[in-house]
C-alpha cells in the first residue's frame, strides 16, 4: 500500500534543511547513505529547533550551578530544592510560529507542551505564566490574534486544571508579523522523586502512552520535499490540535505509574516526536533502543515510518518501564482510559533501531543523532545601532501637561490592566494562589510547609534592542526584583530567547550579547539558570522582531504569611523610593507612546546595587515593615506610583515629591533598574529607617498616601495633580478598550 520511499540524495537532504557539510558528516560517520527514514531523523534532530546548533556554544556561558540546584539544563525541565524535601520544577517555552498560523490551537498546544515538560519530571504542575507580544492593537488582525491566543491558553490551562497566575502582554509594531507566545510552567515534586528522560536498563520495555499518532505537525521544513506528491502534501495538516482532557488523564496516569515505581525514565514527545524521544533518551543513558513502529497507536491509515517517527501529535509520551512492571503500566493507563503500548526495548550498543513489521527502516547510533554540529559564526553589531544610541530623548519637547501625559501612559495597552486577559484564566485551582495576577509577582503556597513560591516573567524588547547585553541583564533583574518585592528570595531562572534569524551576524550578535547579559546578572544575583528555550527565526520578510529574552524567575518565601503586594493599603502610610535614581527615556514606553521614537541609551545598571536593593526589600517585607512594595518598570516612577494608587481593591491617593534635578519627563517616565517603592505605616517608620541604614542602599522618603488624587512635585513645583478615578479609568481601559 505504501509506495517505496524516495531515494536519498544531497538535494533531498538540502530540501529537508540540512547543509551539504552536514550531509557529508552524516554519510561519512554512517559509512553509507542514510535511508529515507534516517534522513528524516537527522533533518529533525539536527534542526535548529532540536539541536540548538547556533546557540549551544553561547548557552554554555550561563551559570547553571548552585547549592539548591537538583537538575540543571538538559532535561525536560530544571529543578531546585526548596526545603522540607520539596523541589520546584519549572521551564519556559515558546510557541510563536504555531500561534501565528493558528492562534487558538497554537497557543493551546504551547501550554500543553510545557505542562508535559513539567510532569514528565514527576512534578504536579501548580502554575502557568504567559508572556505575550503582539503588534499594535489598532490593527484588527492583531486583536483577533490576541483573542485567539488568550482563549487558546485559557481553554487548555483551564480544562487541564492548572492555574495561570501571571505573565505579561506588551505591544510594539515589530511583533506584528511575528507575535510571541511564551509559556512558563511551575510544578512541585518530592526532591527524591524526580524523574528523568533517560532510557536506563538494557532490556527494559519501552511504552508509548497517550493520544494516537496522526500526521499532525510533521516538520514543515522536512516536508517541503520535491518528491512528495503535491496532493498528498495538501492533505497533510501541519497544525497540531490540543486535547487538554487527554493531557489531564496523561498527567494523572503518569504520576500514578511513577508513584507505583513502574517508571524508569520518561520523555514528552514534543518537537520531532518519537524520533526525538527514541534517540535522546538512550543517548542520555548511553544505551540504545529497538522499536517496532507498526505497534505505535495510529489515528490515520497508511502512515509511513517517516511520518510515524516525525509526527508531532500532542499529548503523547515515551516511557521506559522497569522490566516486570509491564502489567502495572498497562493497568494504570487503562484506568485512565489511555493507550499504553509496548513498542520496543532498551538495548545495548548505542543504536536506535526502528522497524516496520520487523523490517529495519532506520539503524543509527544515537550518539550521532544527538551530536549535531555546533556553530559559532562571526557576530557583528547592527549598522543602525550607533544612530539609535546617539539619539537624545531630551532634544524632544516636554509634554505640555504632565498630568495628561501620565494618563496617556497609564492608558497605553502595554501598561494598562491586563484583567481582560487573566480573568479568562483560572487563577486558583489547587487553592495555592495567595497573590493572584495583578501584583508584581504571583505567590503560591506550598501546602504542608510554611513556605510559598513567588513567580514572575519579564522582558523588554526595546531595551534589548538598544543594548542587548544590558537590556537582557535588566530583564533578569526585573523578574528577580518582582519576586523580591513579594518578599521572596529568587532561587532559579528559566529563559526564553526570542530572536530573528541566526543566519545573520547582527542577530547572532544580539543573541550572544543577551546571553552574556543574562549570565552576568544571574551571577551577580546568585540565581542559576536551570532551563530555557531558544526561538530563532522570529521574522517576517527579513524584518526581525525586537530581540526579546523573556526571563522567568522563581523565588521562595520562607514564611508564606510574610509577603507584600504592590498596591497601597490605606491613607497615612509613608512612601519611600529605594535604589539608585538612574533612569533614562532611552527605549522607554513614554518615548514610544508620546513620540513614536525608539532610541537613546539605557540607564546604567549596577548589579551590586541591584542585589542590595532586592535584599533590602526582602528584609523589609519579611520583617513586616512595609504594607506595599512595587517595582518600577515600564512607564517609570510616575506609572509605578500611579499603579500603587489604583491597582488595589480600593484606590488610595498619594502626594510625593520627586528628584528636582532632572527634566520632568525624564524623572517621571524614565525607566531604569534597581528602583522599588514601598509604603510604611507610621509606627514602623523608625524600624524601617534602621533597616535601610543597615542595608546601605540609597533611599529616601518621597511622600505620604491619602486623599483621592495623585499629586507629584518636582521640588516645590506641582507637575501632576490628577484625580484617582481618572487614573483608574485610564489604567483599567488602556488595554480593554481595544478589545470590546
Amino acid at each position: 500500500m505504501t509506495e517505496a520511499p524516495p531515494k536519498v540524495t544531497l538535494d533531498l537532504a538540502r530540501d529537508s534543511g540540512l547543509t551539504a557539510e552536514e550531509y557529508d558528516r552524516i554519510t561519512s560517520r554512517l559509512g553509507r547513505e542514510p535511508t529515507y527514514a534516517e534522513l528524516g531523523l537527522f533533518a529533525a534532530l539536527w534542526s535548529e529547533h532540536c539541536a540548538y546548533k547556533h546557540s549551544r556554544a553561547y548557552l554554555s556561558r550561563l551559570p547553571t550551578e548552585g547549592p539548591r540546584v537538583l537538575q540543571g539544563p538538559g532535561e525536560n525541565a530544571g529543578a531546585i530544592d526548596i526545603g522540607d524535601g520539596w523541589a520546584v520544577v519549572f521551564k519556559i517555552e515558546s510557541h510563536n510560529h504555531p500561534s501565528f498560523i493558528e492562534p487558538f490551537q497554537g497557543a493551546a498546544t504551547g501550554v500543553g507542551g510545557i505542562l508535559r515538560d513539567i510532569f514528565t519530571m514527576g512534578a504536579r504542575p501548580i502554575a502557568l505564566l504567559d508572556s505575550l507580544r503582539f503588534g499594535e492593537l489598532d490593527d484588527p488582525k492583531t486583536r483577533r490574534l490576541v483573542e485567539g491566543v488568550v482563549s487558546g491558553i485559557s481553554w487548555y490551562g483551564n480544562c487541564f486544571g492548572c492555574p495561570t497566575v501571571g505573565g505579561e502582554v506588551a505591544f510594539a509594531p515589530e511583533y506584528a508579523g511575528n507575535p510571541l507566545v511564551n509559556v512558563m510552567c511551575v510544578g512541585l515534586v518530592r526532591a527524591d522523586q524526580i524523574f528523568r528522560a533517560r532510557a536506563e536498563g538494557v532490556g527494559n520495555p519501552v511504552f508509548y502512552v497517550g493520544n494516537k499518532t496522526g500526521r499532525d505537525g510533521i516538520h514543515g521544513a522536512t516536508m517541503a520535499s520535491a518528491t512528495f506528491d503535491e496532493s498528498a502534501a495538501e492533505r497533510r495538516p501541519t497544525v497540531q490540535v490540543g486535547d487538554p482532557f487527554t493531557e489531564k488523564l496523561l498527567l494523572e496516569a503518569c504520576l500514578e505509574a511513577m508513584k507505583a515505581g513502574a517508571v524508569v525514565g520518561i520523555q514528552d514527545m514534543g518537537a520531532a516526536g518519537l524520533a526525538c524521544c527514541t534517540s535522546e533518551m538512550p543517548a542520555r543513558a548511553g544505551t540504545g533502543m529497538d522499536v517496532e513502529l507498526s505497534r505505535v497507536p495510529q489515528r490515520e491509515v497508511g502512515m509511513t515510518p517517516y511520518e510515524i517517527l516525525l509526527s508531532e501529535s500532542q499529548e503523547r509520551m515515551l516511557l521506559v518501564a522497569g522490566r516486570g512492571r509491564e502489567d502495572d503500566v498497562r493497568r494504570i493507563f487503562a484506568k485512565w482510559e489511555l493507550d499504553a503500548v509496548e513498542i520496543g526495548r532498551v538495548t545495548a550498543g548505542g543504536a536506535l533501531t526502528a522497524r516496520l513489521s520487523g523490517e529495519v527502516v532506520a539503524h543509527v547510533p544515537v550518539s550521532l543523532l544527538a551530536d549535531a554540529p555546533k556553530y559559532t559564526k562571526p557576530t557583528a553589531p547592527p549598522g543602525w545601532l550607533a544612530e539609535r544610541l546617539a539619539f537624545d530623548p531630551l532634544t524632544l519637547p516636554e509634554p505640555p501637561d504632565y498630568g495628561e501625559a501620565l494618563l496617556a501612559l497609564c492608558a497605553s495597552p502595554s501598561i494598562g490592566s491586563k484583567e481582560w486577559v487573566f480573568r479568562q484564566y483560572d487563577q486558583q485551582v489547587g487553592i495555592n494562589t495567595l497573590v493572584l495576577p495583578g501584583s508584581d509577582a504571583a505567590v503560591l503556597r506550598v501546602k504542608g510547609t510554611p513556605r510559598a513560591l513567588a513567580v514572575s516573567t519579564d522582558g523588554n524588547g526595546r531595551h534589548v534592542f538598544l543594548d542587548p547585553r544590558r537590556g537582557a541583564a535588566m530583564a533578569v533583574c526585573e523578574a528577580a526584583r518582582n519576586v523580591s518585592c513579594s518578599g521572596a528570595t529568587p532561587v532559579g531562572v528559566t529563559d526564553c530567547m526570542n530572536f530573528g534569524s541566526p543566519e545573520r551576524p547582527e542577530i547572532r550578535w544580539q543573541f550572544a550579547q543577551a546571553i552574556d547579559g543574562i549570565a552576568e546578572a544571574c551571577r551577580a544575583l546568585e540565581i542559576p539558570v536551570v532551563g530555557g528555550n531558544v526561538s530563532f527565526y522570529n521574522e517576517t520578510s527579513g524584518q526581525a522582531i525586537l530581540p526579546t529574552p523573556i526571563i522567568g524567575v522563581v523565588g521562595v518565601l520562607e514564611d508564606a504569611g510574610r509577603r507584600a503586594t504592590q498596591w497601597f493599603k490605606g491613607a497615612g502610610h509613608r512612601v519611600a523610593l529605594l535604589g539608585l535614581e538612574h533612569a533614562s527615556l532611552g527605549g522607554s514606553e513614554y518615548l514610544w507612546r508620546a513620540h513614536r521614537r525608539l532610541g537613546g541609551r539605557l540607564a546604567p545598571l549596577d548589579l551590586e546595587a541591584e542585589r542590595k536593593v532586592q535584599a533590602a526589600v526582602r528584609a523589609a517585607v519579611s520583617a513586616g515593615l512595609v504594607t506595599a512594595a512595587h517595582d518600577c518598570s515600564e512607564g517609570g516612577l510616575a506609572v509605578a506610583l500611579a499603579e500603587g494608587c489604583v491597582t488595589g481593591r480600593e484606590p488610595v491617593g498619594l502626594e510625593a515629591a520627586l528628584d528636582a534635578s532632572g527634566r520632568g519627563d525624564h524623572v517621571l517616565f524614565g525607566e531604569g533598574p534597581s528602583r522599588v517603592i514601598v509604603a510604611v505605616e507610621p509606627p514602623r517608620v523608625r524600624e524601617f529607617e534602621a533597616l535601610m541604614a543597615e542595608s546601605a542602599i540609597p533611599w529616601r522618603w518621597i511622600g505620604t498616601t491619602g486623599g483621592d488624587r495623585l499629586v507629584l512635585r518636582l521640588g516645590t513645583k506641582t507637575i501632576v495633580d490628577v484625580a484617582l478615578d481618572r487614573i483608574e479609568r485610564a489604567w483599567r481601559s488602556g488595554f480593554e478598550r481595544h478589545m470590546a
Partner: protein, 237 residues
C-alpha cells in the same frame, strides 16, 4: 459526617474539596471514582469542579450519565446530601437531579473572578446557618455558567423556594452589572425541593481559608454539619 468527593476523568477541584474537608473542617472524606455505585457509607457527596470528560460535548453531559451520578438518585432518596459546585452543578442539571441547564457565559468567554452571592433561602441543609440577604464572597471560574430554565420551570423554582443564591453587589443589591455570566435572574445556585441537593457555580472550596481571601465557603459546610447533627439522622452511624 462522612464526605465523598467524586472524581471523573477531567475533574480538578477534587483535591481542593478533599483538602478543605479534611484539613480545614477535619471531617472524614474519601475520593469516589466515577464508576462507583456504592455510596452507602457516605452522608454527603461532593461533585467538584473541572472539565469532566473534557466537557467536549456540553459541560457535564457525559458525567451526568455516569454510574456514580445514577447512584445519586437513590442516595438522595435515602436522605443523602449532594453538593455540586461548578462542573458539579452542570452535572446535576444534565442528570436531571436539578432543573434547568447551564449555557455558555453571555460574554462568550471564560470568567475567573470574585463574586458576591446574596443568600435567598436559608431553609436548606446548606444554608441553615445563614441569614436571608446575607452576602457571601466566593470566586467563580467557568465558561458555561449561565443558568437557564424555561418560564414554567422558573415559576416552579420560585414557588418552591429553590433559588438559593443570586449574584449581587457587595451591598446585597441584585443588579445586572453584578451578573458575571448572564444567568437568568442572576441565579448562582439552586436546590432540589427538599433542600438536600445544592448546585452552585461558585467555588466554596476556594473560599474556605483566610489566606485565600474569604472563608464564606465554609459556611455552607458548617450549615450542613450543624443541620445534620441537629436532625440526628446521621449521629447514630
Amino acid at each position: 459526617m462522612r464526605f465523598g468527593v467524586v472524581v471523573f476523568p477531567g475533574t480538578w477541584s477534587d483535591c481542593d474539596f478533599h483538602y478543605v474537608i479534611s484539613e480545614v473542617l477535619h471531617q472524614p472524606v474519601k475520593y469516589v471514582w466515577h464508576r462507583e455505585r456504592d455510596l452507602d457509607d457516605l452522608d454527603c457527596v461532593v461533585l467538584p469542579g473541572g472539565f469532566s470528560y473534557g466537557d467536549y460535548l456540553r459541560a457535564g453531559a457525559v458525567a451526568g450519565r455516569s454510574p456514580v451520578v445514577d447512584a445519586l438518585r437513590d442516595f438522595v432518596a435515602r436522605g443523602g446530601h449532594v453538593l455540586g459546585s461548578c462542573n458539579g452543578f452542570q452535572i446535576l442539571c444534565e442528570a436531571g437531579l436539578l432543573p434547568g441547564a447551564l449555557m455558555r457565559n453571555e460574554c462568550l468567554q471564560y470568567r475567573c473572578q470574585s463574586t458576591h452571592l446574596v443568600v435567598e433561602n436559608v431553609e436548606t441543609a446548606f444554608t441553615r446557618g445563614l441569614r436571608p440577604g446575607q452576602v457571601l464572597t466566593m470566586p467563580i471560574s467557568h465558561g458555561e455558567g449561565k443558568y437557564h430554565a424555561d418560564p414554567e420551570a422558573l415559576r416552579t423554582l420560585k414557588a418552591r423556594r429553590q433559588i438559593v443564591f443570586r449574584y449581587g453587589e457587595a451591598d446585597g443589591r441584585v443588579t445586572r452589572t453584578a451578573n458575571p455570566n448572564g444567568s437568568l435572574e442572576n441565579i448562582a445556585g439552586i436546590v432540589n425541593p427538599e433542600g438536600t441537593v445544592l448546585g452552585l457555580m461558585p467555588h466554596p472550596e476556594r473560599a474556605a481559608e483566610a489566606a485565600m481571601g474569604s472563608t464564606d465557603g465554609l459556611l455552607l459546610f458548617q450549615s450542613l454539619l450543624g443541620s445534620l447533627v441537629e436532625d440526628g439522622s446521621f449521629l447514630k452511624r
